[in-house]
């Protein structure tokens, strides 16, 4: 099926952001995913987050691999450049793009097959390099486009659509990301916009590798009884550890909280993240504790969600590589090419 353009007309009184844009300006082509697909809700959350952040869409690039999730960048931000690469290799393309121009924001959208199987190596190394991007995995535990095979994030207790058993333990991508050194790690649920949108806003304002594992049920192949990635299972077993408020630069904080129940973190662009601890013992700046917390919930058959780990101290790729402040793609002959005298002295040194 070819792509479907969305009609452009809209209500004249739609709310506008500080750029004078409406939410419609952040939308993309009509989705061709199954009706009710969790991924469409994630696309909607990205649209909402970018609208609320007043981001100019053309200063953002969308990167993806292959699979249902990787198709979604067509369905949001049509004024952004997009790059649908090859299966499991989006991290390297995003890394290269980032090296060429660090001034754009990058959203990578991937799936559990794309990230936890074929692209596991590239994912690990993008995290390790602290590529400045938001990396979202739309995690449904199944291969949708090839009609319902188990993926590596499918839990061992989870049954297939026809009752098939899964012999292997799942890979927890959020735990993986923390262990590999991602500086921002969250987990959300496609059905919980209240939680997801502020988390995306905070991630887009963060400098460094921001990872969000979004449980995004596949209504066609993995939403049955016995699946641990179904809407119903997730609603019953989700355990939100933190609630995230995103506070824009210069925005006042009005709500009052009991002492010790919130943590405020200032991000690189001077916006703030206010984490309301729903579990009083939780410390999102401690990676070992975060991992322990995730595993504790996993043992109970629950899924920990919220902003799980945040480190604003680490540097991102460009700083680690000691690159100039201007984007490399803005440099021309004058900045890049040594003159003939330099070449002559090189010739001389080779005689």
């Amino acid at each position: 099926m070819s792509y479907i353009a969305k009609p452009k007309f809209h209500h004249p009184n739609l709310p506008r952001n500080s750029l004078g844009l409406t939410r419609r300006d952040y939308e993309g082509a009509m989705s061709t995913l199954c009706a009710g697909c969790g991924h469409d809700s994630v696309s909607a959350a990205i649209v909402e987050a970018c609208f609320e952040l007043n981001l100019p869409a053309h200063k953002l690039a969308k990167m993806s691999g292959i699979g249902c999730s990787s198709k979604t960048p067509t369905y949001f931000l049509s004024k952004s450049h997009g790059f649908n690469s090859v299966h499991g290799r989006m991290p390297s393309v995003a890394t290269g793009a980032n090296l060429a121009n660090n001034e754009l924001k990058y959203i990578g959208v991937s799936g559990d097959g794309d990230t936890a199987s074929i692209g596991f190596g590239q994912f690990a190394h993008a995290v390790r390099r602290q590529v400045d991007m938001l990396y979202i995995v739309e995690n449904n535990g199944t291969y949708g486009l090839t009609k319902g095979q188990f993926s590596a994030t499918n839990d061992r207790v989870s049954l297939g659509r026809k009752g098939q058993k899964n012999a292997f333990d799942s890979i927890d991508l959020a735990a993986m990301a923390i262990q590999l050194g991602a500086s921002f790690v969250g987990r959300g649920f496609s059905g919980d916009k209240e939680q997801l949108v502020p988390m995306i806003k905070a991630a887009l304002s963060h400098k460094g590798f921001a990872f969000i594992d979004v449980i995004s049920p596949c209504v066609t192949f993995n939403n049955h009884n016995g699946s641990t990635k179904s809407f119903e299972f997730f609603r019953d077993n989700e355990r939100s550890i933190t609630a995230t408020d995103y506070i824009a630069p210069r925005e006042a904080i009005t709500a009052e909280y009991e002492e010790g129940s919130v943590i405020d973190v200032t991000l690189h662009d001077s916006s703030r993240v206010r984490l309301r601890k729903l579990d009083a013992n939780y410390d999102p700046s401690d990676s070992a504790a975060a991992l322990q917390h995730i595993m504790k919930h996993e043992e109970l058959g629950e899924v920990a969600t919220g902003l799980l780990y945040l480190n604003v101290e680490d540097t991102e790729l460009k700083e680690k590589m000691d690159m100039v402040n201007v984007p490399l793609n803005s440099l021309g002959v004058a900045e890049l090419r040594p003159d003939n005298n330099k070449l002559e002295s090189i010739n001389k040194s080779l005689r």
Binding site: H81, P91, A100, L328, R351
Partner: protein
Amino acid sequence: MIVNDFVIKFANVNGSGSASANALFAKAIFRMGVPVAPKNIFPSNIQGLPTWFECRVNGNGYLGRRDGIDIMVAMNPQSWDEDIKAILPGGYLLYDSTFIREIERDDIKTIGVPLTQLCNERFTIPRERQLFKNVAYVGALTGLLDMDFDIIKGMISEQFRGKDKLIAPNIDALELGRNYALKYFDCPLDIRVESSDAVGDQILIDGNAAAGLGCVFAGATVAAWYPITPSTSVAEAFENYCHKLRIDEETGKKKFAIVQAEDELAAIGMVIGANWNGARAFTATSGPGISLMSEFLGLAYFAEVPAVLFNIQRGGPSTGMPTRTQQSDITACAYASHGDTKHILIFPSDPTECFDFAIEAFDLAERLQTPVIIMSDLDLGMNEWTTKPFKLDETRGFDRGKVLNAEQLDEVEQFGRYLDVDGDGIPYRTYPGTHPEKGAFFTRGTSHNEYAGYTEDGSVNVRVMERLVHKFNTAKELVPGPVFGQDTQGSTMGLLYFGTTAISVPEAMEMLDERDIKIDTMRIRAFPFSKEVEDFIDSHEKVFLVEQNRDAQLRALLVNECEIEPAKIVPVLNYDGSPITAKCIVDLISEALGKNTEQVGSNTVAAE
């Protein structure tokens, strides 16, 4: 007496510190103005296995590899028997006479220098005793071959500038060997080096260093690579030259980014991501890396993203002979990836062309919005060559190709990423972040229409695929054209060759000429083949094609792409991992013509 025309070979143990002494010897000859071609013949090993350094010295500038050794410096007991066998009758054996050796040939002349004994007496530190043995045999050779001793002493001072305390013991070691030779042998030998002006303004450099330098001058800012022999030194040279030439004076920060990727897949992915985003980016790899990069090359071809690759070819298939040379990745590169794909290949034949073609490749990749693969090989990449100095045309800018900026986008009614506006098959592209409203598109490996939208409409796909062929035909006019050799001979026979074979062809032609075999020559420098290549084949009855692979891969490409009668092109092949010799070319052509190969002479020494 033989002056400035011999092959000397050094047989050493890998990791024993011989490489720098051997390089010193070769450079000293070069400094005397005599053309020289040093070659490392090394194992895939860090320490302990046999390694050789072969050096052809030729006043006429015939610097292709030549079989038969005139002087063997045999320093490795492991390969002793084999090394003695390789010496030509009447040739010389220089060896460490501290140890008693059985020498079973009486048709060679032996020069025993007690190198171990001399160094043990002079030096106290064990490592010094080992290292200076190498310097001492170079010293002995300066006496035996009548080399300019001031030149080599000057080079030692140059090399250790800043570490001055190393100068005296090195010169000491040189003199140790030299004085022994002068005292005990009739110096100089009947083979010797005489100062000359045959080198002229040429330089001595390896192809990989030249390629790395070329990338700096080409404006490359991103390099992503994964270590693999024999390509590693391209990335390393780029890094070294960037540190000298690309540090921002004000901030001290880097105007470049070099990533040692986790594998070749990631390396090419980064290159494609960076090029897509408007930075000039490249990778360097070898055959196995090309296999891994193939899926991404298909994406770059179809989505029309520029990319520059250096393939420093080695012996295949599979892991093959990682430290030997071949030209055996032509098919794999020309048609890399599944589906109908074709890629631009460029064949440099010396380090100067590695530099020039690096600059050319970035222009071509961006002009044509497609991958360009520079097909070097181990012989060119990792050995130092006597080659023309680098030149830069300062009036020439970077050709960034058809890229629309914000103002140009404002003028465009409707931007279509894959629209053939100019009729040359090359569409217009935009970099991300250019314009708030116009010019954004979705780069994809899925079939797409002229507006980059996904399509499963077969007729649209055919249209796009045909435009890609049209673009590839446009490339024929833009890639480096062929170079004619003796096209004036008006022979009915032609000879085609490419890449490092070039160094052996003039000598082969002279040898054939002596046999009264006249052949016109043409050096192919790129794929797709320009019309001149087709014309050359058309205008000759029989065409020989010299290749360093088993399957005559370039021949297959010519037959396939130019619809040439296969029988017309006679393959001349060498694929034993050693660079092709003039004699091999002559023998195979003579054999094909039914002439007695024995009459053609065993080497140029005999011919003189």
